[in-house]
Amino acid sequence: MGRELTHDEIRELLGAYALDAIPQDEREATARHLAECEECRAEASAHREAVAHLIAEGRQPDTGLWDRLSAALEAPPPTLRLGPVSDTVRRGRTALLTGAAVVIAAAGMVAFFTLKVSDQNRRIEEMANAVEDRTILRAAYTAMTDPAAEQLPLLSPDRSMVVYLVLLPDGHGYLMAGKLRTLPRGRLYQMWALLDDSPVSAALLGRRPDVSPFWVHRPVAGFAITDESAPGARTPSGKPVVIGYLPDADR
């Protein structure tokens, strides 16, 4: 690895960088700088946008190329089916899961919504990959056995339905919402963190939610899930499908 370049040296390289016209060592140094410098990152992006217009679209690849490409695509991960979940007892509380089968939806049905809209695409892919390799399941089970975690039932207004979530001290948590009925196309479940009774979106759960990770900035008073129009809402549009409040002094 060569010497680090100064900000001014990097700026001089940005045009060549956008054209892939710099040596490897300088390319790496520039990439490191761009990861931290918004000004240079913006200039490099602007150069690339300009360069993108230098290409005429008159040439086309062979018509069979798409067929070869589509044949090489990986299929969506299969639906995972697990055996019954055994009861767990922690800190004197009663078990939350009672023999219900936990089904993990295909990665394409898992959505993760954060307060930073610009992270949404990356989060969706992180979620899809996590489901594919069962990381979410493992993490959820680990969280449930963490003595520092809080477990909260979310109940429907008539108390006929209950889903559970587990919340860790750092704000990460997992929602087990497999009992929620599948919504029609164009609708989705959205989870809200209740902060001083003001709801803030915590996760988009899709039409057929199951085990969903989320993160909230604590303290939080409780959680609610509503039925919304896709792609989600800024504020809840109706009454919660299920809701629950933390009993401790998180409020």
């Binding site: 700026r11 001089e12 390289l13 940005l14 045009g15 060549a16 956008a18 054209l19 892939d20 016209a21 710099i22 040596p23 990152r41 992006s45 602007a46 150069h47 690339r48 946008e49 300009a50 360069v51 993108a52 217009h53 230098l54 290409i55 005429a56 679209e57 008159g58 040439r59 086309q60 690849p61 062979d62 190329l65 798409w66 070869r68 490409l69 589509s70 090489a72 695509l73 990986e74 969506p76 295909a106 990665a107 394409g108 049905m109 610009s118 949404q120 695409n121 990356r122 969706i124 892919e125 992180e126 899809a128």
Partner: protein, 192 residues
């Protein structure tokens, strides 16, 4: 499928992240020609260019999260990767030998003047006027670097100019190009 035809590029990438193959097909329909044109121009080899097209769209399928709509258009993202991949291939030993064989078979020899004419013909029509805002030196530096696959150091050697001069010409040329395109109402800047 109709929804995808009218969807934005960003929405397509989100759909690709959800394993919707038809979304990738739509992205391919929109951008494969441009990707192929650039790769063909850089590599000079149709087979290699098609390999690059396949690599680029497989990359989009496997790692859609790497595209950040906040940082630029999908077209610019795909073409940046296309150019990088194509230049890598161009600099590989096999590609260099093929190019040398091809050049040796041409009569007369492939002069810079002819290469310049080919470049002009490859440009999108609306870009010609924007490029007229650049100086000859700026256009030449950009052409050699982008379409010739040369580093700025190699361009400096080819033009017998200091490396700092070439870096400055490329940077100032791209700035002028961006400003000219923006004035002409072309590109993402025209929408802001």
């Amino acid at each position: 499928m109709d929804e995808l035809r009218s969807a934005s590029d960003s929405a397509l990438v989100v759909a690709i992240a959800r394993y919707r193959q038809e979304a990738l097909a739509e992205a391919y329909r929109r951008h494969a020609g441009t990707v192929f044109s650039l790769s063909l121009r850089v590599t000079g080899d149709r087979v290699l260019a098609q390999d690059v097209v396949q690599d680029i769209f497989l990359h989009l399928w496997n790692e859609p999260e790497r595209f950040d709509s906040q940082r630029g258009s999908l077209r610019a993202y795909l073409l940046a990767h296309t150019h990088g991949r194509s230049v890598d291939m161009l600099r590989a030993e096999v590609s260099r030998r093929r190019r040398e064989e091809r050049h040796a078979q041409q009569t007369p020899s492939f002069t810079e003047d002819v290469e310049g004419q080919v470049w002009e013909a490859a440009l999108a029509g609306h870009v010609h006027q924007a490029l007229s805002a650049l100086s000859h030196d700026e256009r030449e530096a950009i052409r050699l670097a982008y379409f010739g696959g040369h580093t700025y150091r190699e361009v400096a050697a080819l033009l017998d100019e200091p490396e700092g001069t070439i870096k400055s010409r490329i940077r100032s040329g791209l700035r002028r190009l961006r400003d000219a395109l923006s004035e002409a109402g072309i590109g993402a800047w025209a929408e802001s």
